[in-house]
């Protein structure tokens, strides 16, 4: 089995297919949670529970030729963009069949065919590089768009400000998407950042900016479409703040006991997967019985997938030396 087999790019905007993909992400994250808790997987992991709609909406709008630079919290984006659960799960398990051959891990996913560039585990790391891809597209005269997805906490790092300014002054075809899930590690946003509406930071770079409801797939799709169209047509960068909420702890060991009481409960009805389901039912595109069936079969699919990954081979020792430098060209 090769890492990229059966890629499933979500180019269509079929809402039932989107819901199914959201269920996949949800179930995938739940499985990961269990596997880490059981000690089956080592290292660390960052779940995207509550942030599924942003991933799905992003995938629905972008083309595989638009490079996405995301973070250590990208299982959802990877699956939404079309990576197979096997290639992501195997990577998290450190297996040879993973998207990075088991050398990257949970924080480092990549699939160039789908437009997912290596995700960075350094805060702000992807922003300047996304701008640089936009620079290349501008010079090449094509209509591709560079995309950076990052957290609220990343707006406090130098790279963020430098990159916004640079992208604005060069009018680069880039879309900056801040996933404001209210927390950076164990700190609520108000403890580290004087404002909670982060999109206004782009105002000082004279960059178009707005907030979207990151829990609402339709709002996400509309908001990202507008920015991507602007970038494609030479209108320069846009800064989007997606208001979401981090339903899980920061990383695997975190119980998130620092949340103000009731905050999580307040957000639960805004669960993006739940909202998708409710909307489909309301529109008559789905009934609750079918929805339940989809959920339980997704559970089976993901559980089986985990078994397949567990049985997959470990990388061989020489793998660690394979991709450091350009291979020597033999005459």
């Amino acid at each position: 089995m090769s890492a990229g087999m059966n890629r499933r790019r979500l180019v269509q905007t079929d809402p039932v297919a989107q819901f199914e993909r959201a269920l996949e992400i949800r179930e995938f994250e739940n499985q990961i949670n269990g596997l880490f808790a059981a000690g089956t997987i080592r290292g660390t992991t960052h779940l995207c529970l509550g942030q599924e709609a942003l991933a799905i909406g992003l995938a629905a709008v972008l083309r595989p030729t638009d490079p996405v630079f995301a973070t250590y919290r990208s299982h959802g984006i990877a699956l939404a963009l079309g990576m197979t659960p096997e290639s992501v799960m195997a990577e998290i398990m450190g297996k040879a069949t993973g998207c990075c051959g088991g050398l990257g891990g949970s924080m480092h996913l990549c699939d160039m065919e789908l437009g997912l560039l290596p995700t960075s585990a350094i805060i702000g790391g992807g922003l300047p590089i996304a701008a640089g891809t936009g620079l290349a597209f501008q010079i090449q005269g094509n209509d591709r768009v560079g995309v950076a997805v990052f957290g609220d906490g990343a707006t406090n790092i130098g790279a963020f400000h430098e990159t916004l300014n640079l992208a604005a002054i060069w009018k680069l075809p880039v879309v900056f998407i801040c996933d404001n899930n209210v927390y950076a590690e164990y700190s609520r946003i108000n403890l580290t950042t004087p404002i909670e509406d982060l999109h206004i930071r782009a105002e000082s770079y004279a960059m178009p900016h707005y907030a979207i409801d990151g829990m609402d797939i339709d709002a996400v799709t509309t908001g990202i479409t507008q920015a991507v169209e602007r970038a494609r047509s030479g209108g320069g960068p846009t800064f989007i703040e997606a208001k979401t909420y981090r339903f899980a702890g920061h990383s695997r060991a975190d119980q998130a006991l620092y949340r103000p009481e009731g905050e999580l409960d307040k957000w639960k009805p805004r669960d993006p997967v739940l909202l998708m389901e409710q909307r489909l039912i309301k529109k008559g595109l789905l009934d609750s019985e079918t929805a339940e069936k989809m959920k339980s079969s997704m559970k089976d699919v993901i559980e089986n997938m985990v078994k397949v990954c567990q049985a997959a081979p470990e990388p061989t020792v020489d793998a660690m030396f394979k991709h450091i430098w350009t291979p020597k060209v033999r005459a």
Binding site: L103, I122, G158, E185, L191, D318, F321, I324
Partner: protein
């Protein structure tokens, strides 16, 4: 003597310094309310309050520079860089600003900061969160570079680092945070002084950080009588201790966690060879990681890091042949 975990020794040293010196302050990401991602600042906010103990935004450049500014105005900041890699976004403030302050003020300014960072592999954190990277800072005159290996040295060296008038980079082996050891809070250790953690007469191992435990484990298995030196400080390193030991044993092996190229071990071997070549009975050499990023996969990561088995194998070989053995990756022909 109380036994404590290495991470508690860190917290205890910070607390003891803060108690005895009101100019000591500490800040970093999630070090106050959450008491540190690795719990190295447990109880500090509670005892010393939010004026002296602060959580920062994710702004390493900003808060590293703020430490420099506060230091030249009379404070003694101890800051935490959660993973050494994050120093990358703040390197200017340490290497190009802090390290030049005294020099560019014609000797009038002092920058008594301690930059603490967790370092090293072994925990499955992948290529961007597992490096030791001491060579990022070791080649900058004006910085001192220190790394403890156990609870006692963490406690005593951190206190010395905080008391030191110059900028100190303090590298904490992450994998050892939970390890327990006895700590004598009256024991003083000086920066720039190594410790002989196991005496021996046949061969000298110089190690640092988590490699000290690896060297000790190997020394316990090796048939020869090995002396293990915990270097403790890379800049300035304890030449006297190392030269003295090698004069006695005639054999030197440096065990470094970082990749083969550009390590401080080369510096040590160069000095020994240059200054007392005639005392050597065998070729001095280094045992390091290979020139590759730290792999995530568990099996590969343990193969990647110098292990007691690999150290044992190479030392048994040099004892027999007098020649520097091949590292595993050349022996196995994989690199």
């Amino acid at each position: 003597m109380p036994a404590m975990r290495l991470r508690q020794a860190i917290a205890t040293a910070i607390a003891d310094e803060m108690r005895s010196d009101p100019t000591v302050i500490t800040f970093g990401e999630d070090i106050a309310a959450a008491e540190g991602p690795f719990k190295t600042t447990e109880g500090i906010l509670e005892e010393f309050g939010p004026l002296r103990v602060r959580d920062t935004p994710i702004s390493e450049m900003g808060f590293t520079g703020a430490a420099v500014g506060a230091a030249i105005m009379g404070m003694k900041p101890v800051i935490e860089i959660m993973f050494m890699e994050f120093l990358g976004v703040a390197l200017d403030q340490l290497v190009t600003e802090a390290a030049k302050m005294r020099y560019l003020s014609n000797g009038t300014l002092s920058v008594p900061i301690v930059v603490r960072a967790s370092v090293g592999g072994g925990l499955g954190f992948g290529s961007q969160h597992s490096q030791t990277l001491e060579n990022w800072v070791a080649a900058t005159p004006g910085l001192k570079v220190v790394s403890p290996s156990d609870a006692q040295s963490a406690y005593s060296l951190l206190r010395a680092a905080i008391q030191d008038p110059d900028p100190v980079m303090f590298l904490e082996p992450r994998v050892a945070y939970a390890e327990r050891g006895e700590v004598d809070t009256n024991l003083k250790m000086e920066l720039g002084k190594a410790r002989i953690v196991k005496p021996g007469k046949d061969l000298t191992i110089v190690a640092l950080g988590q490699m000290v435990n690896v060297a000790r484990a190997a020394a316990a298995k090796i048939s020869a009588d090995v002396e293990v030196i915990d270097l403790c400080t890379i800049v300035p390193w304890d030449k006297q201790c190392v030269l003295g030991s090698v004069k006695k044993t005639g054999r030197l092996v440096v065990v470094e966690e970082q990749p083969e190229s550009g390590g401080w071990g080369s510096e040590i071997i160069a000095a020994v060879v240059a200054e007392q070549f005639a005392t050597l009975k065998a070729a001095p050499f280094r045992i390091t990681s290979p020139n590759a990023p730290v792999p995530y996969n568990g099996g590969l990561e343990s193969k990647f890091l110098p292990s007691p088995e690999e150290v044992t194998r190479q030392i048994e070989e040099v004892m027999k042949t007098g020649k520097a053995p091949q590292p595993w990756w050349r022996r196995e022909g994989v690199n």
